[in-house]
């Protein structure tokens, strides 16, 4: 007996811990909604929900777990009901319940849903049961079909998007740095062009010397002139046959 009581105590302890965790995260979410609604973004709300649902499942697991004795079998009796303000109770409930009077037990110690809720559930249950088996099947199948169709649609759209994105990634391949360098070097220094013809006999050594000097000094005195890619604009501009009046 002693052992069982201890067991119960421990599991209750665990439950209380879980519930208080749950409570604090709900509080956090509410705080977030109330104070940060201007800057709040959807992902962070989703995070909070995920936390909540995790905590709920872990609570459920604890409840169903083997270690917890069947709480159903336990009885809970209100022993003392008094209209006096009970400070310790207030402390325990963070000021929510200040006294344990006659109004409290029916709401707080309820084990069944409220009568009207129960009635509604009952109605739904009867409605569900009176539905013919095959009709229900049909509806189920329909629903499944719709869902799978929707899934397909979403998936294909997603694929399209991803393809598009992939496409876009391939587009910037419109220019290449190597080509830029090659072209500039060709225009400026005649890269790859010089080899085709013999040069002035004296100049190579001089040119080389200078290039080396330049490299040594790390401050090249470049005496070669950059390109004249700009061209004889005059000619082309003048050849425009019709000036606007």
């Amino acid at each position: 007996m002693q052992k069982e009581e201890k067991h119960l105590e421990a599991s209750l302890e665990a439950l209380i811990q879980r519930v208080s965790e749950l409570k604090s995260s709900i509080g956090a979410l509410i705080g977030k909604l109330e104070h940060e609604y201007e800057t709040l973004n959807w992902p962070s709300v989703l995070d909070s929900f995920a936390l909540l649902s995790g905590q709920l499942t872990s609570l459920g697991r604890v409840l169903k777990g083997d270690k917890v004795p069947a709480l159903k079998n336990q009885l809970l009796l209100p022993i003392l009901i008094s209209p006096e303000i009970d400070e310790s109770l207030g402390k325990l409930t963070e000021g929510r319940v200040m006294m344990f009077n006659h109004e409290i037990p029916p709401t707080y110690l309820r084990t069944k849903p409220q009568p009207e809720v129960e009635e509604k559930t009952q109605q739904l249950v009867t409605k569900a049961t009176c539905l013919a088996q095959d009709l229900a099947h049909k509806q189920l199948n329909n629903l499944n079909k719709f869902t799978s169709n929707l899934m397909d649609l979403m998936n294909s759209t997603k694929e399209d998007w991803e393809n598009d994105a992939g496409h876009k990634n391939s587009q910037p391949q419109m220019c290449s740095q190597d080509d830029t360098n090659l072209l500039v070097a060709t225009a400026l220094y005649g890269k790859d062009l010089r080899t085709t013809r013999p040069r002035h006999p004296k100049s190579p050594q001089i040119g080389m010397m200078q290039a080396q000097q330049a490299n040594n000094r790390q401050n090249p005195v470049m005496t070669k002139a950059p390109s004249a890619i700009k061209t004889t604009i005059k000619s082309a501009a003048a050849s425009h046959p019709y000036q606007r009046p």
């Binding site: 050849s239 046959p241 000036q243 606007r244 009046p245």
Partner: protein
């Protein structure tokens, strides 16, 4: 539903559409015509308008009914769905074409305005009279025909003229439609711009060989030469074009004129027949006799 039936209902729908159009057109017509509303008469007008609108309404509902009877378009019309698709805008040169057309129309209006002004102001001696009622009173006189030559004939005549040895080149342009403007190059001495109307010479302007046109395609029909000598020659040419003018044998006239004109090949090198000098008052002999083609200084002519 049979094909036959389908066709019929389509036909009917088309018919109804036409009807609708006509009734709508009628409404707009009425509105466009306008009417002066007299006091107390507003009701009448309003009624009339109301009636025509009702007619439109009826037509619409008829059309709608027939339209509902039509089943969804048969596969035959599948291609028509592409009708509304935008073509690849980038590939069609519509934009440039529109701009081009706009520019040209601008240019045409500008140039025609300019030409009208110039012709009015500078060229009072009209050789081509518009046919007026006056002619009815004097039926004996034939209207001049010089302006009424088709382009092919003009081209043929010019080709014959091109064979004259003194002429190095005749360029033809048609800046404002059918009538040609010639640019005649005489050796490397001068260039003349001759505006033709049919085969009739309307306007002659002579400038130096080196006086550049901004570019060859652009005609400078009106800009006078910078040099006095060519201004004198222009004057002589205008006089000659009037002298050689014959209303009914324009081809003959242009041949005579050109023959005379080619004498200017020796503008700088010919001696005056009277004073036997090249130079007089800063000018070479700028006049060529109309009959003998002999060169004279302006002052030596008389």
């Amino acid at each position: 539903m049979s094909e036959q039936n389908q066709t019929e209902s389509i036909l009917q729908a088309i018919h109804l559409t036409q009807k609708l159009r006509s009734s709508v057109a009628k409404v707009f017509q009425n509105m466009a015509d306008g009417c002066s509303v007299e006091k107390g008469n507003e009701k009448h007008i309003l009624n009339k308008f109301h009636e025509s609108l009702l007619a439109v309404n009826n037509d619409i509902s008829d059309l709608e009914k027939t339209g509902n009877m039509l089943v969804s378009p048969s596969p035959v019309t599948a291609n028509s769905m592409y009708l509304s698709n935008d073509p690849a805008i980038d590939k069609t040169p519509v934009y440039q074409q529109i701009l081009q057309a706009y520019k040209w129309s601008n240019k045409i209006s500008d140039l025609s305005g300019l030409a009208a002004n110039v012709l009015e102001a500078q060229n009072k001696l009209k050789r081509s009279q518009p046919i007026t009622i006056m002619q009815a009173k004097r039926p004996k006189r034939l209207p001049p025909t010089g302006h009424a030559f088709p382009q092919t004939v003009v081209e043929q005549t010019l080709n014959r003229l091109r064979k004259l040895p003194e002429i190095s080149d005749i360029k033809t342009t048609h800046p404002l439609g059918s009538h040609a403007v010639l640019q005649i190059t005489l050796g490397s001495v001068l260039k003349a711009q001759v505006a033709l109307r049919g085969l009739m010479i309307e306007w002659v302007n002579v400038r130096g060989y080196t006086e550049e046109n901004p570019d060859d395609s652009k005609l400078e029909l009106w800009a006078k030469s910078r040099y006095e000598v060519f201004q004198k020659v222009t004057e002589s040419c205008t006089a000659a074009s009037l002298y050689f003018y014959t209303p009914h044998n324009a081809e003959f006239a242009i041949n005579l004129f050109m023959k005379w004109f080619t004498q200017y090949r020796t503008l700088f090198s010919a001696k005056c027949s009277k004073c036997c000098n090249h130079y007089l008052n800063g000018l070479p002999p700028t006049w060529r006799d109309l009959a003998t083609y002999e060169p004279y200084h302006d002052a030596c002519r008389q």
